[in-house]
């Protein structure tokens, strides 16, 4: 294995590989930053180009593109409150408030640091822990996936001002996710007689609508609020040293970076979970354990670092089941799986034995791409940030609207999706006014399929038992996740009470 890694290192160090990694990262970032075009779509577009390439070069280009696409999703999440990919949902929670405070440059730097560290740790996890972690994955059944989804939902306790309204918004999102054909059984539900609704409400469409339309409406009806943001950004730019200051600040709390990367690597290994779950769990954990938890949701830098570290760690993590078991962990992994098969390479333990140099060249190139995101991202990301800040609101609002329309149309090439996106977005704006946070609705839409599939499959798997429901509470792994769910729900309540008591004490003294 060490000989293979050594040979792979020599291959990766060639100028061709370096250029491929740079091209892949830039291309991926461009696609990732476009709302509606996910990493999967980008990789699928890239697939025909790799037909004519050598297996190694094709795989390296795909790996670099995947890494760049996940990172690129953070740009629009931070700058215009539109996650470029579902992996950057949680990035909006603090990234956009930072932009509103004129701190978008710091947010872009934070996202870059998080993504680079997360990407590298995910690859290290892939090299060091692949066989061990692959065995853990096999122990996960539908019940565990159900509880993982519920664990993700506990984040609502942290993001909603009112717990009851937050839960209601989450359930509303779960309900939206049930529209169309059921994931288990194939029953058609809640289509209201519209045949086109059988495909349900795509996650990207709901995501774009619920996050972006309220932002567009705000920009149109209250454009004066943005001038403050532009002014604050100008003041900070005059002071200079933003990059160095931000990097130093982030690195002074390495636990957040390491924990979020570890979460991303582990969630990436779970087939079907992926970056859209990992970024939410990492954000929740960062908030739960932070001393500055009161700042989360109001522009806390750790709230940008955590999801970005986690979603890029998913890239390496997702390759563990792909390369060791032949199970794609997420849709982009499935495209890479296709490339492997196209070149006659069969994923599995023998891949490391028979094609060791090729496999490690691919893995190391993904790691190199993560490192390359630092210089490329700091130039391109900050360039985009400056362009967005300098764009007058009367052009920014319609440009965002244009991109959201294209993004939602591109999901299924359906004009109906654009209408659904706008209606959901306007509904989200109205619901926000009555206290139902759109972010919690999106959380429900993201987690709905995982929870429902786990729920139905878990019940089906336990039909022989006297009480099939009990199977959700008796498996050791399930019990472990249930403990995390209880902690996730109780923690914000306990800390809020503690802070209240502290404040009362200070008031008395």
């Amino acid at each position: 294995m060490l000989v293979d890694i050594g040979n792979a290192l020599i291959q990766v160090a060639t100028p061709t590989m370096l250029l491929l990694c740079i091209a892949g990262v830039i291309g991926g970032m461009a696609v990732g930053a476009t709302p509606g075009l996910s990493a999967t779509v980008g990789l699928a577009l890239l697939l025909p180009i790799t037909f004519a390439m050598e297996p190694t070069t094709g795989l390296v280009l795909m790996g670099a593109f995947y890494m760049g696409a996940i990172y690129g999703g953070s740009f629009t999440a931070i700058l215009v409150n539109t996650p470029g990919t579902p992996s950057s949902i949680a990035t909006t929670f603090d990234g956009y408030p930072m932009t509103q405070q004129g701190r978008s440059e710091a947010a872009i730097v934070a996202s870059t640091v998080g993504s680079v560290v997360g990407g590298v740790i995910g690859v290290i996890g892939l090299i060091v822990l692949a066989p061990l972690l692959a065995q853990v994955v096999l122990a996960f059944g539908p019940q565990e996936y159900f509880w993982m989804g519920v664990f993700g939902l506990t984040m609502i306790a942290g993001i909603a001002p009112s717990l009851i309204k937050g839960i209601a918004a989450g359930f509303l999102g779960l309900l939206i996710s049930t529209i169309g054909i059921s994931p288990v059984g194939g029953e058609v539900r809640f289509t209201f007689g519209i045949t086109d609704m059988q495909g349900g409400v795509p996650l990207i469409v709901a995501l774009i609508g619920l996050f972006t339309i309220p932002t567009i409406v705000d920009l149109v009806i209250a454009p004066e609020s943005r001038s403050m943001e532009v002014e604050a950004d100008g003041d900070r730019r005059k002071r200079g040293g933003e990059v160095r200051r931000t990097v130093r600040d982030i690195l002074s709390r390495p636990v957040n970076l390491l924990r979020s990367s570890a979460i991303g690597t582990f969630v990436g290994i779970l087939p079907g979970a992926g970056g859209s779950i990992a970024n939410l769990i990492a954000y929740n954990e960062a908030k739960r354990t932070s001393k500055r938890r009161a700042n989360f949701g109001k522009g806390e830098i750790d709230g940008v670092v955590a999801p970005e570290a986690a979603n890029n760690a998913v890239v390496g993590g997702g390759m563990v089941p792909l390369l060791t078991l032949g199970i794609p962990g997420a849709p982009p992994d499935a495209v890479i799986y296709g490339v492997l098969l196209l070149h006659g390479l069969r994923p599995g333990p023998e891949l490391f034995d028979e094609q060791g140099v090729l496999t490690f060249t691919f893995i190391l190139a993904v790691g190199l791409s993560a490192l390359l995101m630092a210089p490329i991202g700091l130039v391109a990301g900050r360039g985009l940030q400056r362009a967005v800040v300098r764009t007058p609101t009367y052009y920014l609002a319609p440009t965002i609207a244009l991109l959201t329309a294209v993004g939602s149309y591109a999901v299924r090439n359906s004009p109906l999706d654009v209408v659904i996106m706008v209606l959901l977005g306007l509904a989200g704006y109205g619901l926000r006014k009555v206290g139902l946070p759109p972010a919690a609705i999106v959380l429900g839409v993201v987690l709905g399929p995982i929870i429902e599939t786990g729920f139905a499959q878990g019940l089906l798997a336990a039909t022989g038992d006297a009480h099939p429901w009990m199977s959700f509470f008796t498996r050791p792994l399930s019990l472990g996740i249930i403990v995390l769910v209880v902690l996730g729900l109780a923690w914000p309540l306990v800390t809020a009470r503690k802070e209240k008591r502290q404040a009362e004490k200070e008031l008395v003294s």
Binding site: V31, F171, S182, E187, V188, A222, V419, L431
Partner: protein, 147 residues
């Protein structure tokens, strides 16, 4: 209180509307959506009761320009519907210019209309070409101008 009553009411109406649409052919597959509907309705009732018990409290939301909100809502819906009917570029340029003028506020001057139209055409056509030619996403086209 008013926000709570409206919020609870919306949840109950949504739960009721979806309940009418449900199909109970299989208990196992219906269990999850049924559970969601029941919980949503219960939460709606809880929020209403909470609102009634609490009464008026807090500073309330910042006043919204309702006229502007209505205009932008109609514009967005019309854009979404128009994209499938008259194509991406025509609907895009028209909606772009109207939205830009809405943000500018005040009576639009001819120079501003001309500048916004030029900017709209450039941005929309560039977007159309990038998506259809580079990314191979087939956007809806107008039969009149072919794009």
């Amino acid at each position: 209180m008013r926000a709570d009553l409206v919020c609870g009411g919306i949840l109950i109406v949504i739960a009721g509307t979806f309940w009418v649409q449900r199909d109970t052919s299989d208990r196992l597959y219906a269990a999850f959506p049924d559970l969601l509907l029941v919980v949503l309705a219960v939460l709606g009732v809880v929020i209403i009761v909470q609102g009634l018990v609490r009464g008026e409290r807090g500073a309330g939301e910042r006043e919204v320009n309702r006229r502007m909100l209505a205009i932008v809502s109609v514009l967005l819906v019309a854009w979404a519907l128009g994209m499938g009917l008259v194509g991406f570029t025509i609907s895009g340029v028209v909606a772009f210019v109207i939205m830009a003028l809405l943000v500018r506020e005040g009576r639009p001057r001819l120079r501003e209309v001309a500048t916004d139209t030029a900017a709209g055409v450039v941005i929309v056509v560039a977007c159309f070409l990038i998506f259809t030619r580079v990314l191979l996403v087939p956007l809806p086209v107008s039969t009149l101008i072919g794009m």
